[in-house]
Amino acid sequence: MRARSTVGRRSVLAAGAGLGAVGAAGCSVGSAANSVNAEPVVPAADGPVTLTYWAWLKGLQVVCDLWNKDNPDIQVQAAWSGSGNSGGYAKMFAALAAGGGADIAQVEFQMLPSFLLQNGLVDLNRYGFGDLTGDYNPNDLSRVSVGDGTFGVPQDTGPMGFFYRRDLLEEIGVNAPATWEEWLDVARAVKESDPSRRLESFNINDPGNFTSYCMQAGADWFTNDGETWTVDLAGEPTRMVADMMDTAFDEDLFNTAYGAFTSGWFAAAANGSIASVITGSWGDALLTGVGGTEGLWAVAPMPTWPDTGFGSATLGGSTAAVLATSQHPAEALQFIHWMTTAPEAIDALIENSGTGWSSSPDYIGRTREEPSEFFGGQNYNQEIFVPAAQAQNPDWIWSPIYLELNDLMSNLFRKRGSSGTRLGDSLEDLEREAVTIMSDKGLQVRGANT
């Protein structure tokens, strides 16, 4: 799940590593030159082992203890890493560079390639993951595999839906939008009903939603032929989404003061100045934190494009990956497989850690098979998210420059706000910058439109 709300702040403390560490962390280059996956397979241990698991899932130790109870020889110790983008990944990268760190790490799907760039992950196929692929959703598997390797086990994903305040939309007299065209109309109606009210917020510091909208519209930003990357950030689907966003910005339809699930957002959602959020299925757990709104929320499918694109997209979602520095990859994989497929583990993860959509096609979780009181008795998981998990862009690949690209797009949206530069006019520059960053990383790359 994407726990970037209030907990993110805590991890800032961990981020205070300071500049002195820049030098020390730089040791990786050169010393880690040979991929761990070119070295011999690490044999299973003779005696009991203890594995460390870095993640930002709350209550994870409870889940590990379920396993520990039955597996005295493989004990798993969970440790709070701080949420990924606010310090967790920084800690993992620094540890990889220093040659230490955890055995298992929570790595979001979109971050796997960035870890691969540092030779930071164990190819799980070398430890028998190939025999287990039947236990996972094929869409999820395609996003953890590169060539013959699998570098993370899908743990949870975030098929997207339209969460909205049923009472507010009824009061205004509009329905949940089926298309993006309708979404603009609903956003206009919400703003007209009260000038301080908006349909949605948009987080300028983390435009992940924009990425997901492009994924849904059928964009394939990064493709490769096994050697060279092709970057397509200015193609037709991306333009279509950018134009829609430009219209929304021109008419001031977004609340851009804060992103979804930040403190300011929770306050606004509680007093009705935010009416909906398009987000991953994991948003349900976070919405229960909006005070005084029990029974008022409902879920509809994500708005779609009439003639093109897909029914949904994903936002967030994590894998459990084995870090290259682990001494016990075989044991780590055993535990991870149990955690991601055993019904008691999936239930415990949902209950204690609020994880997102289960990657196991056989079991979505006990609580998710039933209607929810908070969502006015709607059986939204079965109704909305089971189909959404299937309606995905199968060709989407995450790039090795996810964070850099995210920050570049942030700058575009920031400029959109301050000087009104249209997104549609910035896409080719964006593509050029992305190509430069990748080639600065020593990769073979070309732009599709530039």
Binding site: G16, G20, G23, G26, F93, S114, L116, S263, L403, R414
Partner: protein
């Protein structure tokens, strides 16, 4: 040194050893390493470097890339602007506070001294989180109160957030700098005051002609600390970023270096940026010392 035996010669080194060891390991070596790293670049084969990663000499390439980055240059301009405004404001208020607290007519001086110093005891990250809630609409009693008066302020907007950070920094460090100045004020011998009194100087005259010239070294010291502190701004923008969309990942030079290293894993450019920040701190501090030193009689 002729009179010293071997044990006496060893003693200072033994006593210094714990400090020197830590200083070498945590300061000198990383600095040398960072300088080396700033001249290195990475080459990868394969889509992700699975075919091998090698590093090679990059010449000044990393420095070129750092200096060609508009966002990094903007961050330098931003902290310069910050320093030009915030440092004088803080030093001025520190001086006034110290003089007031050390004046003969001050009431409860030790209470106020402690009260002004307390913010320094709160770690920068915690202070920033506290202040972020005082800036955040929907949470902040300040924003709500001003709203009621018909004054709409956005403390976290593009034009204001830098000064909201300046406010946090001033709040945190003014008390600490004030103590340095007060320590120097306390070191002024009583006879000097008596002589001034005999010559008929009033409190204002004493402050301007006696105390100010004598606390100059303390003011120079606190200004140099503040200049270096300004260049190293990091925790405050990092924390406020969670509530303000006006703060990007390269808002200050240190933040840019942090992002390059730990977010983008681009250690070469990060090291180049770090070296540039250190050089700038060096140059600015020495320029200021030269500037103030020249006026010494």
């Amino acid at each position: 040194m002729r009179g010293l035996n071997n044990a006496q010669k060893r003693a200072p080194w033994l006593l210094l050893a714990p400090f020197l060891t830590l200083f070498l390991l945590t300061m000198v070596l990383p600095v040398i390493y960072a300088i080396g790293q700033s001249f290195t670049k990475v080459e990868r084969t394969g889509l992700f470097g699975e075919g091998g990663i090698s590093s090679s000499f990059a010449g000044l390439q990393n420095y070129e890339r750092a200096l060609a980055d508009d966002a990094f240059l903007a961050s330098v301009g931003r902290v310069l602007l910050f320093g030009i405004v915030q440092v004088p404001v803080m030093i001025l208020s520190v001086t006034v506070l110290a003089l007031l607290l050390e004046s003969a007519s001050a009431k409860w001086p030790s209470f106020f001294r402690a009260a002004y110093f307390i913010p320094y005891g709160i770690p920068g990250v915690i202070a920033s989180i506290l202040w972020s809630f005082l800036y955040l609409p929907g949470f902040s009693p300040i924003v709500a109160g001003l709203d009621k008066l018909g004054i709409g302020v956005d403390f976290l907007g593009e034009g204001t957030v830098l000064w909201s950070i300046a406010n946090i920094v001033t709040w945190t460090y003014a008390g600490y700098n004030m103590l340095i100045v007060i320590a120097q004020l306390k070191a002024i011998p009583g006879e000097v005051y008596e002589a001034a009194k005999v010559d008929g100087a009033g409190p204002l005259r004493v402050a301007l002609s006696v105390q100010l010239p004598l606390i100059r070294p303390a003011l120079v010291l606190t200004t140099v600390f503040s200049i270096i502190g300004t260049l190293q701004l990091f925790a405050e923008p990092q924390v406020l970023r969670t509530v303000s969309s006006a703060i990007d990942a390269k808002y200050t030079p240190n933040f840019a270096a942090y992002s390059s290293a730990f977010t983008y894993s681009d250690y070469g450019v990060a090291s180049a940026q770090a070296v540039l920040i250190a050089l700038a701190a060096f140059v600015l501090s020495f320029a200021f010392l030269r500037l103030t030193g020249r006026k010494e009689p």
